[in-house]
C-alpha cells in the first residue's frame, strides 16, 4: 500500500504550552504524518465478547507492569481464591497481582513472559468448581462522592495497570504531583493497531462502565473535563459512547481520523487538544492524563464490584484462526490454550504476535501467558510473514516523512551500522515510541525498529 501523509495534518504548534488554538478544529481531528496501514479488522470486529473458561493451568507473572516486580505472597501448595492477592510490592511504582482462578498454587518459579524474558510467576492449577462459586457483589459506585485518595487506593488495591499495552501502574498515573495540575482527561478508544478489535467491542458492550471509570479518573486527578477519543473507523462505538455520555456534563466524545498511531498518547493529545507534550516529557506536563477504555472498565469493576484485575478482553485473529473474535480471558492463560479455544490451525502458524501487527511482540513459544497488557494475539501464516532482505538505504526519506514524532530514523540506522552509539542522542532516539511507521514504509526493508532498540540499549546510559 502506498503510504499517505495526513490529510488534515496539523503541523506541530510552535508552543508546547497550554491552550488550544482556536479555529483549527476540524472533525475528524488528527496529528501530522503517520501512516494508513490496512485495518485487517473484519474478522473479529463486532463479534460479541465470548468468555473463555479458565484452563487447567495458569501462569501468572509477578511483573506485568512497568516498575518494580511484585513479591509473591503465596507459595507452592497454597490454596487460592479467584481475586485473592498473590503478589504485592511496597514500591509505589508497582502493581498488585491477583489470582485469576480459584485453585492450588503448583509452584512459584521463573517462566517465560511475552516480552521474551523469564519472570518469576505463580503457577496455579485451577479448580473449576471452587472457581464457579466466587462472586462479586454489586454495590453503588459514585466516584463524585469519593475522595481522590480513596479512588487511588482502590485502583492500587485492584492491581490495575494500563491495559492499552504499556501496563503502567494506573494508581501512579492518577497521582500526579501537587505542582502539576491536570485539567483534562482523555480516554483512549482509538485502537489504532490493525487487527485489534477488543476495545471497540468494549465500547459497544460496556459503555456505562467506561463512563464510570472516566468519572473516577476525573475525580481522582481533579480534572474539569474528559474527552473520549475514538477513531472514525468505529462509527458504532462512537455512537454507543455518545449515547452513554449524553447525560454527562464534562465528558465529550471526539472522533479522530483513522490513522496509525493515533492511539499513542502524545499523538492523541495533539489531535484532541492540539497540545504538544514536551519531548522526553509526560502528558501531565501539559495538564493531561490519558487512560485506555479497558483500564476504565477495570476501575469501574473495582468500584462497583470490588473486583480486582484478573481478566481482560483479548482479540484473537489471523488467517489460521478458525474462530476469530474478542475473548474474555483470565490473566495467566497460556497462548497455547487461548489459540486452541479459538480453533487455531497450528500447522499453519508462521508467526504469533502478542499485541497488534505494528508494535506487537513476536513469540517464540506458545507457553507464554496472557498478561494485563495483552490486547490481542495475531497469528500469521508462514506465507504472510514478511522476511524481506535488508537492502541499502536509498535515502528516500519516507521514514522522515511519516514519523509521527518527526525523528530521522535513517540517520539513527547509519550511526548504528557504524557503531557510533555516542551520537544517537543527537537524533533524539529516546523520543522514539517505536510505533513502527518508519519500518512499515521503508522500501529497502530495513529493520528500523530493531536498529533503534539496539541504539537505545547501546547508547551511553548516564542520561
Amino acid at each position: 500500500m502506498a503510504t499517505q501523509v495526513a490529510v488534515n495534518g496539523v503541523r506541530p504548534s510552535t508552543s508546547s504550552g497550554r491552550g488550544e488554538s482556536a479555529g483549527r478544529r476540524i472533525e475528524p481531528r488528527t496529528f501530522a504524518q503517520g501512516i494508513h496501514p490496512p485495518e485487517l479488522k473484519e474478522a473479529s470486529a463486532g463479534r460479541p465478547v465470548e468468555v473463555m473458561p479458565p484452563p487447567a493451568q495458569l501462569i501468572i507473572p509477578l511483573q506485568q507492569h512497568i516498575g518494580a516486580p511484585a513479591e509473591p505472597t503465596v507459595e507452592a501448595g497454597a490454596v487460592v481464591r479467584r481475586g485473592q492477592s498473590i503478589g504485592h510490592s511496597e514500591a509505589f511504582v508497582s502493581a498488585e497481582v491477583h489470582a485469576s482462578v480459584s485453585g492450588e498454587v503448583a509452584e512459584v518459579r521463573p517462566a517465560l513472559h511475552p516480552v521474551g524474558v523469564d519472570v518469576v510467576s505463580v503457577i496455579i492449577t485451577s479448580d473449576p468448581e471452587a472457581d464457579a462459586q466466587v462472586t462479586f457483589e454489586e454495590r453503588p459506585a459514585r466516584p463524585e462522592e469519593m475522595e481522590p485518595v480513596e479512588i487511588r487506593r482502590a485502583v492500587q488495591d485492584a492491581g490495575i495497570a494500563g491495559m492499552g499495552g504499556a501496563a503502567f501502574p494506573t494508581h501512579v498515573k492518577i497521582s500526579p504531583p501537587t505542582d502539576t495540575p491536570i485539567d483534562t482527561i482523555i480516554i483512549n478508544g482509538c485502537e489504532c493497531e490493525p487487527a485489534l478489535t477488543s476495545d471497540q467491542q468494549l465500547m459497544l458492550e460496556r459503555s456505562a462502565d467506561i463512563v464510570l471509570g472516566t468519572q473516577a479518573v476525573v475525580r481522582a486527578v481533579g480534572a474539569s473535563r474528559a474527552f473520549i477519543g475514538i477513531e472514525s473507523n468505529k462509527p458504532d462505538a462512537i455512537e454507543a459512547m455518545r449515547r452513554a455520555v449524553a447525560q454527562e456534563r464534562g465528558i465529550e466524545v471526539v472522533a479522530v481520523e483513522t490513522k496509525y498511531p493515533q492511539g499513542g498518547e502524545k499523538l492523541l493529545i495533539k489531535a484532541v487538544l492540539d497540545r504538544e507534550v514536551p519531548a522526553f516529557g509526560l502528558p501531565m506536563a501539559v495538564g493531561v492524563v490519558v487512560q485506555n477504555v479497558a483500564t476504565c472498565i477495570a476501575i469501574a469493576e473495582k468500584l462497583r464490584l470490588d473486583k480486582p484485575l484478573y481478566e481482560r478482553v483479548v482479540t484473537v485473529t489471523g488467517t489460521p484462526v478458525a474462530r476469530p473474535g474478542n475473548y474474555l480471558v483470565r490473566i495467566g492463560t497460556r497462548f497455547q490454550d487461548l489459540l486452541e479455544f479459538a480453533d487455531c490451525d497450528f500447522s499453519r502458524a508462521g508467526k504469533v504476535i502478542s499485541g497488534g501487527p505494528m508494535m506487537g511482540i513476536a513469540q517464540y513459544s506458545l507457553e507464554v501467558p496472557v498478561v494485563k497488557g495483552t490486547s490481542g494475539v495475531v497469528v500469521q501464516t508462514p506465507e504472510e510473514v514478511d522476511v524481506a532482505r535488508e537492502q541499502p538505504c536509498i535515502r528516500c526519506g519516507r521514514c522522515v516523512d511519516n514519523c509521527p514524532v518527526f525523528l530521522e530514523p535513517y540517520a539513527i540506522v547509519q550511526l548504528a551500522q557504524a557503531g557510533r552509539w555516542g551520537e544517537v542522542d543527537e537524533y533524539h532516539i529516546m523520543n522514539c515510541m517505536e510505533c513502527g511507521c518508519c519500518a512499515y514504509v521503508c522500501p529497502a526493508k530495513i529493520p528500523l525498529i530493531q536498529y533503534i532498540k539496539l541504539g537505545k540499549a547501546k547508547r551511553p546510559q548516564e542520561k
Partner: protein, 534 residues
C-alpha cells in the same frame, strides 16, 4: 532464525510449531527499491517511445548500449569490491537509461577518421558505453554503491563525456531528417542567434536535442505519473519549475531580448532533469523543507547559467551543484521533534541557520573582495596589454604602414593605416559579440572605401576546440581577404558562390555565423559613424 532460537531454548520452552521471531512491525508496505526503480522506468517510457519515434535506430542502439554497459560495469565493479551483485534492484538499468536520454542521438561521419557512417556509429556507441562505465564506477561504486553516492550517476557520466569528448556532445540532429547536422538545439538557437522555436515544436519534440529531452509532452506525462504514484517527491520538481518560471518570467518582463518563461520550461533538459534527475532520492535531501530548498536552488542556478553564463543549457550543472550541498541541506533542515521548543538545538555544534548564513556569507565576501581587489590592481595593466596586442594585430593587417589611432566614439577606437606614400591604406577596428561558448572579438581591416576587406584577425576565444575554435585559424580567416563588405555578408554551408559570402566551418555553424553576424553589425555601424565623421 527459528532453528538457532529453538536450540537455545530449554526443553520446556520449545514450541511445537516453527515460529518466526522478528522485531516489529510485522506488516510492511509493499513498496520496494526495485519497484521504485521500475516505476521510474515506466515514467520514462513515454520519453523513450518519443525518442525512438524521432531518432529511430539511433535511439534504440544508444539506449541498449548504455543500459548494457551500465549493468556490466555494475556487475564487474561489485565483484571487484567483493560485494554481492545487485543488478536485481534495477538501479543500474535506470542509470543507463537516463544517461542515454541525455546524450545526443548520434555522431556524424565527418568527425570520425575513416569517415563512414558505420564507423561514426560504432565510435559514438563506444563513447556512450565509456560514459556509462564512468557513471557507474566513479559516480556510484567508488562511493560504496547504491545509496552512498553524492552525485547523480547519470549526470556524472554526462559531465565526464562533456569534458572528454566535447565535440561529440555538442552536435545535434533534427529529428525526422536524421541526416542533417543542425548544430543547434532550441536553447542554442536562442542564446546565440536569438532565434525562438515555436512552442508546438518544443511540446511535440520536433526539435534538436538530446535523446530524451525533446518531447515535452512525453516528459510531462511521465513526470505526472511519477508524482501521482509517489515514485518521486513532488516538492523538488514543483520548486524547480516554479523557480524557473518566476525568475525567467521576471527577466522576460524586466529585460529585453529574453525568452518567455514557457520557452524556458519546455526547452532543453529542464523537464527531464526536474522530473527524473532531481528526484533521485539518494542524491537529494531527505526532509520536506530540504527538498524545497533543493528545487529552489537548482532552479535558480539553472536560470543563472542559461541567462548569464556562456552555456546555453545548465540543467546538468545546476543539479550536480545542488547534489554537492545536499548533505548540508539535510543538516540544516532537520525537522523539529514533536514537543521540542523553538529555538532548539542551540549548542548542536553550531549548526544553526544563522551560523550557516554567517559562515557562507563571510566566505563569499572574502572571495569576492579578493577577486575584486585583484581585478582593480591588474585592470590598468591588462588594458595596456590589450591595447598593445590590438595594435600589433592591426599592424599585421597593414604591414609597412604607419598606424595611428583615434577615438571615434567613447566605445570605438578607429585605427588608420597610412602607407609609405602617405596614402590612406585602410582602417581597422574591433568588433565584438557573443559566440557559442563566450565572447568573440574580431579585428577587421578594410580598405578606405569600406567596400572591401583587407583581412580579419580573431582574438583567442573559448569556442569549442576542433570546431568553433577553428575560426581563429588561417583557413577560415583567409576567406575575409578581399571580402566584399559593401553590403551584408552571408554565411553559407558549402562552397562560396559570391564575393560577399563566407563558407561556414563544418560542424561549427554557430561560431561561424557569430563571426559573420558580428562583422555585419560592426560594418553597418562603422559606415554610419564614418559618414557622420566626414
Amino acid at each position: 532464525m527459528t532453528t538457532a532460537t529453538e536450540q537455545a531454548l530449554p526443553e520446556s520452552q520449545r514450541a511445537e510449531a516453527l515460529l518466526t521471531f522478528a522485531a516489529s512491525p510485522h506488516i510492511r508496505s509493499e513498496r520496494t527499491v526495485a519497484g521504485t526503480m521500475r516505476g521510474v522506468m515506466i515514467g520514462l517510457a513515454p520519453a523513450v517511445v518519443a525518442s525512438v519515434y524521432f531518432f529511430r535506430h539511433y535511439a534504440v542502439l544508444l539506449i541498449v548500449t548504455c543500459v548494457v554497459a551500465s549493468c556490466l560495469a555494475e556487475a564487474v565493479f561489485q565483484k571487484l569490491r567483493r560485494k554481492p551483485v545487485t543488478l536485481n534492484d534495477w538501479s543500474a538499468v535506470v542509470t543507463g537509461l537516463l544517461l542515454a536520454l541525455v546524450l545526443p542521438p548520434r555522431l556524424f561521419a565527418e568527425k570520425v577518421a575513416g569517415g563512414s557512417a558505420w564507423a561514426a556509429e560504432v565510435t559514438w556507441l563506444s563513447v556512450a558505453a565509456l560514459g556509462a562505465v564512468f557513471a557507474i564506477a566513479i559516480g556510484k561504486q567508488v562511493y560504496g554503491g547504491l545509496g552512498s553516492n553524492i552525485f547523480n550517476p547519470a549526470l556524472i557520466g554526462r559531465a565526464f563525456l562533456m569534458r572528454a569528448f566535447p565535440t561529440f556532445l555538442t552536435t545535434w540532429t533534427e529529428p525526422g531528417t536524421l541526416d542533417a547536422l543542425s548544430g543547434a538545439t532550441p536553447l542554442d538557437a536562442w542564446k546565440f542567434s536569438q532565434q525562438s522555436t515555436p512552442l508546438s515544436h518544443l511540446l511535440l519534440g520536433t526539435t534538436g536535442g538530446s535523446l530524451g529531452e525533446t518531447c515535452a509532452v512525453a516528459l510531462i506525462i511521465g513526470g505526472v505519473f511519477l508524482l501521482v504514484l509517489r515514485y518521486a517527491d513532488w516538492r523538488i520538481p514543483a520548486a524547480m519549475l516554479a523557480t524557473v518560471t518566476v525568475l525567467t518570467g521576471a527577466a522576460w518582463l524586466l529585460g529585453s531580448e529574453q525568452a518567455p518563461p514557457q520557452f524556458h520550461l519546455l526547452a532543453g533538459g529542464l523537464l527531464l532533469g526536474a522530473f527524473f534527475m532531481a528526484t533521485d532520492p539518494v542524491t537529494t535531501p531527505v526532509t520536506k523543507v530540504g527538498r524545497w530548498v533543493f528545487g529552489l536552488g537548482a532552479g535558480a542556478l539553472l536560470v543563472l547559467i542559461r541567462l548569464k553564463a556562456g552555456l546555453p543549457e545548465g540543467v546538468m550543472y545546476s543539479i550536480l551543484l545542488m547534489n554537492a550541498v545536499t548533505p548540508l541541506i539535510n543538516r540544516y533542515t532537520r525537522p523539529r521533534q514533536l514537543g521540542e521548543r523553538r529555538p532548539y538545538r542551540k549548542a548542536e555544534r553550531g549548526a544553526t541557520t544563522v551560523h550557516m548564513v554567517l559562515v557562507l556569507g563571510l566566505i563569499g565576501l572574502f572571495s569576492g573582495a579578493s577577486l575584486g581587489a585583484m581585478h582593480l590592481w591588474t585592470r590598468a595593466r591588462i588594458a595596456e596589454n590589450e591595447k598593445a596586442e590590438l595594435e600589433s594585430k592591426v599592424q599585421y593587417l597593414f604591414p609597412d604602414c604607419d598606424i595611428s589611432s583615434r577615438e571615434l566614439t567613447k566605445q570605438i577606437v578607429l585605427y588608420e593605416a597610412t602607407d609609405s606614400d602617405g596614402q590612406r591604406a585602410g582602417y581597422a577596428f574591433e568588433a565584438k559579440g557573443m559566440g557559442y561558448q563566450g565572447a568573440i572579438r574580431l579585428i577587421v581591416g578594410v580598405k578606405p572605401d569600406l567596400k572591401e576587406m583587407v583581412g580579419l584577425s580573431v582574438m583567442p576565444t573559448n569556442e569549442t576546440p576542433g570546431l568553433g575554435k577553428r575560426i581563429e585559424e588561417g583557413e577560415f580567416r583567409e576567406q575575409f581577404v578581399g571580402l566584399d563588405v559593401s553590403a551584408k555578408v552571408d554565411l553559407v554551408k558549402g562552397e562560396r558562390q559570391a564575393r560577399n559570402e563566407i563558407s561556414a566551418i563544418t560542424g561549427a555553424t554557430v561560431s561561424s555565423r557569430a563571426v559573420v553576424r558580428i562583422l555585419n553589425k560592426q560594418m553597418a555601424e562603422m559606415r554610419q559613424l564614418l559618414s557622420e565623421d566626414r
